[in-house]
C-alpha cells in the first residue's frame, strides 16, 4: 500500500514532529507552577500600574491635613473612603501605592534594559573575539565586580542628586556585570559552532553573525538575567529612596513611602507594612518568573 507514495521516502523522512513548538512551550509554561504564579502576579501588578490613573480612588499627591494617618479599612477606625488609609500628609495610601508600582516597574525595566545593552555588548565582544579584546573586557568586568554596588550608588547619587532619571541611569551603569558574564560564557560556547562557521564562509559580516546568528541563541539566558537585574534594580531604588538619595518627594516611590513612614512604624505599622509587602510581592513575582524561564530553557527540561 505504501508502494505508490512511500517507496522513495526514507524512514527518517516519515518521522514527523507531532506537536508544534509553541504548543510544547505552552504546555511547559502551564506545567511550571512557579512560573505560572509569578507571571500572574507580575501581570496583575503591571495591569494595575498601567491603569493607575483610572483605578486610583484619589489623587496620589493631594494633601488633606484633616485626614492624616487614617488606618486601613480592616482596622476598627478604617473606612472604605481610604482602603489602605492615608499617610502623614493625608494622601490616599492605595493611590500612592498604585502610582508607586509605575515607578518601581519603570526603574526596574529601564535600568535592566540599559545594563542589558551594556553588559551584552561587552560580553558578546569578549566571548566572540577572545584574545586581547577578552583580556581588556574581562578586566573591566573584574573592576566592576570589585565595586560595592550600594556604596557606589549612594556616593554617586549623593554627588549628582537624586531623581527618577538619575536613578535609572545610575543603576543602568552599575548592574551590567551579570549580563556581561553570562553573554561572554554563552558566546564562548557558540563561537566555534559550525553554523557560525557556515555563515562566515558565506561571507556574512561580523555584525550579521553576532546579531542575527549568535544573539538569538543566547537571548533566553539573557532574559533570565534580565529578570534578576530588574528585581535587583527595584530593591536598590527602594534602598536609595529610603535613604533620601533616590526618587525625591512627593513622588510615590515605595522605598520613599517606607522611609516617610518609618517614624510611625511602632504605633502605625501598616504605613511601612503596606509598601513593604508590595515590594516583596513584586520582587518575588519577578524572581519566580526568572527561575521559571530558566527552567523552561534548561535542556534537561526538554520533553
Amino acid at each position: 500500500m505504501s508502494d505508490a507514495t512511500g517507496s522513495n521516502l526514507s524512514k527518517e523522512q516519515l518521522l514527523l514532529p507531532a506537536v508544534p513548538e509553541w504548543r510544547r512551550m505552552m504546555n511547559r509554561f502551564l506545567g511550571h507552577r512557579g512560573l505560572l504564579m509569578g507571571s500572574i502576579i507580575l501581570g496583575l501588578i503591571v495591569v494595575l500600574a498601567i491603569l493607575a490613573p483610572w483605578l486610583a480612588p484619589h489623587d496620589p499627591y493631594l494633601q488633606n491635613i484633616s485626614q492624616r494617618m487614617i488606618p486601613p479599612v480592616w482596622h476598627e477606625k478604617g473606612s472604605w473612603e481610604h482602603v489602605f488609609g492615608t499617610d502623614k500628609l493625608g494622601r490616599d495610601y492605595l493611590s500612592r501605592l498604585l502610582y508607586g508600582a509605575r515607578i518601581s516597574l519603570t526603574i526596574g525595566l529601564s535600568a535592566a534594559l540599559i545594563s542589558g545593552l551594556i553588559g551584552t555588548t561587552l560580553g558578546v565582544l569578549a566571548g566572540y573575539f577572545g584574545g586581547r579584546v577578552d583580556a581588556v573586557i574581562s578586566y573591566i568586568i573584574t573592576t566592576r565586580l570589585a565595586m560595592p554596588v550600594v556604596l557606589v550608588a549612594l556616593a554617586m547619587s549623593a554627588l549628582v542628586g537624586g531623581s527618577l532619571q538619575m536613578v535609572i541611569i545610575l543603576l543602568g551603569l552599575l548592574l551590567w556585570d551579570r549580563f556581561a558574564v553570562v553573554a561572554r560564557s554563552t558566546t564562548q560556547q557558540l563561537r566555534d559552532a559550525e553554523f557560525i562557521a557556515s555563515a562566515k564562509v558565506l561571507g556574512a559580516s561580523t555584525t550579521y553573525i553576532l546579531v542575527r546568528e549568535l544573539l538569538p541563541n543566547i537571548l533566553s539566558a539573557l532574559i533570565v538575567v534580565m529578570t534578576l537585574e530588574m528585581a535587583h534594580a527595584i530593591l536598590l531604588e527602594a534602598t536609595l529612596s529610603f535613604l533620601g538619595l533616590g526618587v525625591q518627594p512627593p513622588m510615590p516611590s515605595w522605598g520613599l513611602m517606607i522611609s516617610e513612614g518609618k517614624a510611625y512604624m511602632f504605633f502605625k505599622p501598616w504605613v511601612i507594612a503596606i509598601p513593604g509587602i508590595a515590594l516583596m510581592v513584586l520582587v518575588l513575582a519577578i524572581n519566580l518568573v526568572g527561575d521559571g524561564l530558566r527552567d523552561m530553557n534548561a535542556p534537561e527540561g526538554r520533553n
Binding site: S10, E194, L202, A204, Y208
Partner: protein, 277 residues
C-alpha cells in the same frame, strides 16, 4: 575551465600550545607542508586518524583559519585575492555535525535561503522558488521548511546542510566527515545523495574521513594523512589494493576490524615505520 579546482601548495598551520605561565609553549604542527591538487570533477578522499589535522586543513581551505605558511588556490585563484563572497560561490563546506551546523533559532527555510539573501540573488519570490527546487534536489520534503532544526532527524539535517551548500551553485564541496555523526543506516543515504549530486552537477569533492571504508566507493583518488603530513597518495586502486606505506596498511586493516572502537592494530612500532620511510 581552471586546470585545478583546488590546489594547495606547501600549506601549513602551527599552533603554539601553552603549558602554563612558566614553561615554553610547545609547537604543534597540525598541518605541516601539505600540497594537493584536485582536478575539476574529481573526488579526492583525505583519510587519517582523528587529530591528524584534517579539520585544520579544511578550515584553511574554507578561509576560517589563516595558514602559517603556503597557499590555497581555488579554481586557479588565490584564496584571499578575492572577496569571501565570491569565494563562497565557488566553494562550500559540509560539516561533520548537523546538530551544530544549523542555527537552532532559524527555520529550515531561513537557513537554506540565507546564502541567497547574503549574496542578494533574486527577489523574495525567486528565492522561495530556489529553496523549493534545491529541496527537491536533495530529497528534503517541502513541508519541513517551516520547521526548526530541532524537529528534524540527523539525516534530514544533513540534507538541509547540503541544500544550503548547493544553493549558490558552487563547483567545489569540502566535506569534513559529513556522515560520521549519523546513524549507520542514514550514512549510506547521505553518501548516495552526495554521489548522485556529483554526477548531476559535476561537482568536485574534497571528502575528508577518518574511515577508509567510507571513502572506498566514492573517491577517484585517496590521500592519506598522518600527523599533519600526506604520507601516501594515489588512485583508489593504488591505495586499496597496493598500499605502500605501513600507516595506510594499518588504516586498511582497521577498516576490517569489526568495531571501530578497537582502533588501529599496533603495526606502528618504529621498525615498520623506519622500513618504509
Amino acid at each position: 575551465m581552471a586546470e585545478y579546482a583546488l590546489e594547495l601548495t606547501n600549506l601549513s598551520r602551527h599552533f603554539h600550545l601553552k603549558n602554563g605561565a612558566f614553561k615554553e609553549p610547545t609547537l604543534l604542527k597540525a598541518v605541516d607542508g601539505i600540497s594537493l591538487r584536485i582536478r575539476p570533477g574529481e573526488t579526492l578522499g583525505l583519510v587519517g586518524e582523528s587529530g591528524c589535522g584534517k579539520s585544520t586543513l579544511a578550515k584553511m581551505i574554507l578561509g576560517l583559519l589563516e595558514p602559517t605558511d603556503g597557499d590555497v588556490l581555488i579554481n586557479d585563484k588565490m584564496r584571499g585575492a578575492s572577496s569571501r563572497l565570491s569565494m563562497s560561490r565557488q566553494l562550500q563546506p559540509i560539516f561533520q555535525d548537523p546538530y551544530s551546523s544549523l542555527n537552532p533559532r532559524k527555520t529550515i527555510e531561513q537557513i537554506i535561503r540565507l546564502p541567497l539573501q547574503l549574496h542578494k540573488i533574486g527577489d523574495a519570490n525567486s528565492q522561495q522558488r530556489a529553496v523549493k527546487d534545491i529541496c527537491d534536489l536533495v530529497g528534503l520534503p517541502e513541508r519541513l521548511l517551516k520547521n526548526y532544526p530541532g524537529q528534524l532527524s540527523g539525516g534530514q539535517r544533513q540534507r538541509v546542510a547540503i541544500a544550503r551548500a548547493l544553493i549558490l551553485k558552487p563547483n567545489i564541496l569540502v566535506c569534513d566527515e559529513p556522515t560520521s555523526a549519523l546513524d549507520v543506516s542514514v550514512q549510506a543515504q547521505i553518501l548516495n545523495l552526495l554521489m548522485d549530486l556529483k554526477k548531476e552537477l559535476g561537482l568536485t569533492y574534497l571528502f575528508i574521513s577518518h574511515n577508509l571504508g567510507v571513502v572506498e566507493h566514492l573517491v577517484d583518488r585517496v590521500a592519506v594523512m598522518y600527523r599533519g603530513k600526506i604520507v601516501e597518495q594515489g588512485t583508489r586502486e593504488d591505495i586499496f589494493q597496493n598500499a605502500q606505506h605501513p600507516y595506510t596498511q594499518a588504516l586498511l586493516s582497521s577498516v576490517l576490524t569489526p568495531e571501530p572502537a578497537l582502533g588501529l592494530p599496533d603495526v606502528l612500532d618504529s621498525s615498520a615505520w623506519n622500513q618504509a620511510s
